[in-house]
């Protein structure tokens, strides 16, 4: 077994440091190492997107990323989205539009949605659907999720 190494990175704005195995998955480091269980494992092969997190501002499937790749990086998980005890506008819209049903895809879906709106501030329905196609949801049929994302985009697009 290869030796452990010290992983230093920033998670949700906080500097974190822990000993882990170089090939440990970022997902396991977050969930088991740091107790950030908001990030879920749905398939373990990068297909469902439930484990999506932001790594230096890019959406990644944390089940595919070796932890070593997060060395010195900035990671944002669902736990990092809420600001000042309240919900982020996207979380608020997901709640208001019933975009979270069983809620298991929701953390990853929120990460992907936040990233989408940042990259494309006023997406049309098709752009939202394309933008979220890496995140599977089995409950909603996606319509309410698309509504929620568009509601945020509209609000933020206003002067």
């Amino acid at each position: 077994m290869p030796e452990t190494f010290r992983l230093d990175f920033t998670v949700n704005g906080q500097a974190r440091s822990l000993d882990t195995h170089p090939m440990a998955r970022l997902l396991d480091v977050l969930r088991e190492g740091l107790g950030l269980t908001g990030t879920k494992e749905g398939c373990g092969e990068g297909e469902c997107g439930a484990c999506s997190v932001l790594l230096d501002g890019r959406v990644v499937n944390s089940c595919l990323i070796p932890a070593v790749q997060a060395q010195g990086a900035e990671v944002v998980t669902v736990e990092g989205l809420a600001a000042g005890g309240g919900l982020s506008p996207m979380q608020d819209a997901f709640l208001a539009h019933n975009a979270a049903q069983c809620g298991f895809c929701t953390p990853g879906m929120l990460i992907a949605a936040e990233d989408l709106v940042r990259r494309c501030p006023a997406p049309d329905k098709e752009q939202v659907r394309e933008g979220l196609a890496g995140n599977l949801c089995r409950c909603t049929g996606y319509s309410k999720i698309v509504d929620a994302v568009q509601a945020v985009a509209r609000k933020e697009g206003q002067p």
Binding site: A100, G103, T106, K125, G141, Y142
Partner: protein, 746 residues
């Protein structure tokens, strides 16, 4: 409160990521459990050996020899063991033989690969034709798990008199529920003052099913077994009966280890080993008079039940009762059989047998219309059930029923006739994209079939808490459908309170009564009605006890609850299911009122098929349903949209492939479910009608959306592809190409 789009009760925790699902719980000292499976479709287990490579002395091992009670997973028939015994029969490749647990998940995984089974293999039965041919016999005398015959009038005589007779065969494949959260369960066994106590908590739909299974596995009295339903990442029926198996495994390992044990399946194991939708084969023969009125129906409906009986008899029952669709016909015969094969047992999945038989009848009606030179819409209109008509089981439609109006509304929603006209013109052009529009009309019986609810006699309650708020006591579980919210709305409405003063109590068999399983679109209609009664009881107790006077404000209600609790110690009121005295059902003859009520729907789909790739895209979809009163329009719409997405997936892409009884595409890379980019916006409309059985008039909602999409899409594809018939689900590009090739060579 009823009729308001109240925000989902547990929604805030879900969007914050703080909601704790089973595998999110980190129990100090807990072990990780894994399962060693047979990997052989049929045979006899001779023994097993443990190969070198892991420290076996650190690993907890449990086998059938460690079971304190019965080695049977409690269900309808006692034919499924928790673990295969040495010398016992192997009936499918995913049966559990040995359970292992270790503090380190990786070590447990490695150990799993180091158990060798010694097996004498036997020839297996792998599909419906082989099972029907008894080649070989693997169950009973002729491989039949359950047979049902429904007769009304004389189908043979009527068929002989018919002006036209049509036949068709329709097939549907297995479908994986694919809840996003794989199955997970935590077992704990402790020595209490009265002896051994077993607790299991996890992802499960039916706490009291698991409770019953554990009582029998451990041979313990009910009060020393406890089951807790945790946050659940979807179920769709997939967590109805299978969790009993995992719960038993986790608890057995916990007994052996003397420590808590968590078993969390990964996606591949979950897909391979757990239940799926039953594959089906339906032969439909119908006779019509000269005007196109149905005069005879003869339906032969077969489901592949897999290796054990599990829930197949009741899935079969629902499929059989729905087999005639929403049509009036005087003379009917439905022969329904669930047959055994050497694949993992099939189980509950949204729709529960009805999607299979409704696909057949709704495809068949389109086919008959075209053969007779009639418009499929007109043929349906001519034959719809109406108030006063008698269904196949003899149930009389007592409510006002306007299926033609429902169909018109769905057609309007999608501009059916305009699309049809435009597509017919454009399909003649030299363009590889062909388009079509099609529809299906169907119903879904609400609640358990027949006398099921009366036998179950469910109980639910409400409790006034110390702070004056009210808790809902029910064993019904939240899996995303919105039960937490809807139950609170029903109780709040009955008590005249704002919904934030009502909360769900934790679903723990130690504290909540048995309100029955969370299945069959029964929660809102059946349990909701019981809760309405219970809440009335609480209100009456407060009023008559002098704690409260009408009219009251929420603050006065809270004060009254607090005062009553302080005086009485506890403040609980319960309700119990009351059967409709006018409803009658005979399980032996299959005659009578099969359901207290039906929900009705028409779904319309506009599709495009690319004749270069044979890929199908659903471009528009309208779902219109009459479901009684809608308790929460936003949640109900979301549930329908999600169900339709699952139905579209089943229709077009979801193709469970078995090889020697094992699912071989048990990964999300090769089992394809729809993404956001694959689906249109799903239009949803509700028509409301009265229903005396449900709270505020509500009926069941959740399963309708699985029944309608596949036949609507198949009927639309028939329009797009001219004379080509697609009578098999899923309609993958490969199948469409194959049918086109066959048609070309015919």
């Amino acid at each position: 409160m009823i009729g308001a789009s109240t925000i989902r009760k547990e929604g805030r925790a879900k969007v914050l990521g703080t909601a704790k699902y089973t595998d999110d719980l980190d129990l100090p000292g807990a072990l990780h459990g894994v399962t060693v499976r047979t990997r052989c479709a049929r045979g006899v287990l001779r023994g097993f050996t443990f190969l070198d490579g892991v420290p076996w002395d650190e690993i907890t091992v449990a086998t059938a020899a460690d079971i304190p009670g019965r080695n049977i997973v409690a269900s309808i028939h006692d034919d499924q063991p928790f673990l295969v015994e040495v010398g016992g029969t192997i009936s499918h490749p995913e049966q559990a033989v040995v359970l292992l647990a270790h503090p380190d998940r990786q070590v447990a995984e490695k150990a799993r690969g180091l158990v060798r089974l010694e097996v004498d293999e036997l020839p297996a039965v792998l599909d419906i034709p082989a099972s029907l041919a008894c080649d070989p016999v693997i169950h009973g005398e002729r491989n039949v798990l359950k047979e049902i015959l429904i007769t009304k009038g004389d189908a043979d005589a009527a068929m002989a008199r018919a002006a036209r007779v049509f036949e068709g065969e329709y097939r549907t494949g297995a479908q994986e529920q694919l809840y996003l959260e794989p199955n997970a369960m935590i077992g704990t066994v402790e020595e209490g003052p009265a002896g051994r106590e077993v607790t299991v908590s996890g992802s499960l739909q039916c706490p009291y099913y698991v409770h019953d299974a554990l009582i029998q596995l451990f041979g313990l009295p009910a009060e020393r077994v406890r089951v807790v339903a945790l946050e659940m990442g979807g179920g769709f029926g997939g967590k109805e009966d299978f969790p009993s198996v995992i719960a038993g495994h986790a608890a057995l390992l916990a007994l052996k280890a003397g420590r808590p044990v968590k078993i969390a399946y990964d996606r591949e194991e979950d897909m391979a080993a757990t239940t799926k939708r039953h594959p089906s084969r339906t032969r439909v023969r119908t006779g019509f008079d000269a005007e196109g009125r149905l005069v005879a129906m003869d339906i032969d409906f077969v489901l592949d039940g897999g290796a054990f009986t599990t829930l197949s008899p009741v899935v079969l029952s629902r499929g059989a009762i729905h087999a005639c669709g929403p049509y009036r016909c005087g003379d009917v015969r439905v022969l329904a059989r669930a047959v055994a094969t050497n694949t993992p047992p099939c189980g509950a999945f949204r729709g529960f047998g009805a999607p299979q038989s409704l696909f057949a009848i709704e495809r068949h009606m389109d086919h008959c219309a075209r053969e007779m030179g009639l418009d499929p819409v007109d043929l349906r209109r001519l034959n719809f059930l109406r108030k006063g008509d008698t269904m196949a089981t003899g149930q009389v439609i007592k409510d006002d029923l306007d299926l033609a109006g429902l169909m018109d509304r769905a057609m309007e929603e999608i501009a059916f006739r305009d699309l049809q006209k435009a597509y017919r013109v454009r399909n003649a052009w030299d363009d590889p994209i062909k388009r079509g529009v099609g529809l299906s009309v169907f119903m879904h019986g609400c609640g358990f079939t027949g006398s099921g609810e009366a036998h179950m006699a469910s109980v639910a309650g409400v409790e006034g808490r110390e702070d004056g708020t009210v808790a809902v006591l029910a064993a019904s579980t939240e899996m995303g459908q919105g039960k937490n919210t809807v139950f609170c709305q029903i109780v709040a409405e009955t008590l005249g309170l704002p919904v934030d003063l009502v909360e769900m109590a934790e679903v723990d068999t130690r504290f909540v009564p048995n309100s029955g399983p969370t299945v069959a679109s029964r929660s809102t209609m059946v349990v909701g009605k019981i809760l309405e009664d219970a809440a009335r009881g609480l209100r009456l107790a407060l009023l008559q006890g002098g704690f409260l006077a009408e009219p009251y404000t929420p603050a006065q209600f809270r004060a009254a609850v607090a005062a009553a609790r302080a005086k009485l110690g506890s403040l609980k009121a319960y309700g119990q299911f009351k059967a409709n005295p006018e409803a009658a059902w005979d399980d032996k003859t299959y005659r009578g009122d099969a359901y207290p009520n039906y929900s009705w729907a028409c779904y319309a789909a506009a599709v495009a098929v690319d004749l270069t790739t044979f890929e199908v895209k659903v471009e528009d979809f309208a779902a219109v349903q009459e479901v009684g009163r809608v308790v929460n329009p936003t949640l109900a719409t979301g549930q329908i949209q999600g169900g339709v997405a699952q139905g579209i997936g089943w229709a077009l892409w979801e193709d469970v492939t078995f090889r020697e009884g094992r699912m071989v595409n048990n990964q999300l890379t090769n089992y394809i479910i729809p993404t956001a980019a694959d689906l249109p916006h799903i239009r949803v409309a509700f028509l409301e009608a009265g229903n005396p059985f449900g709270p505020g008039g509500a009926k069941g909602i959740g399963e309708l959306p699985m029944d309608g999409p596949a036949p609507a899409i198949a009927n639309a594809l028939r329009e797009a592809l001219g004379d080509l018939r697609l009578d098999e689900v899923p309609m993958t590009p490969e199948r469409i190409l194959q049918r086109l090739e066959e048609a070309r060579h015919a």
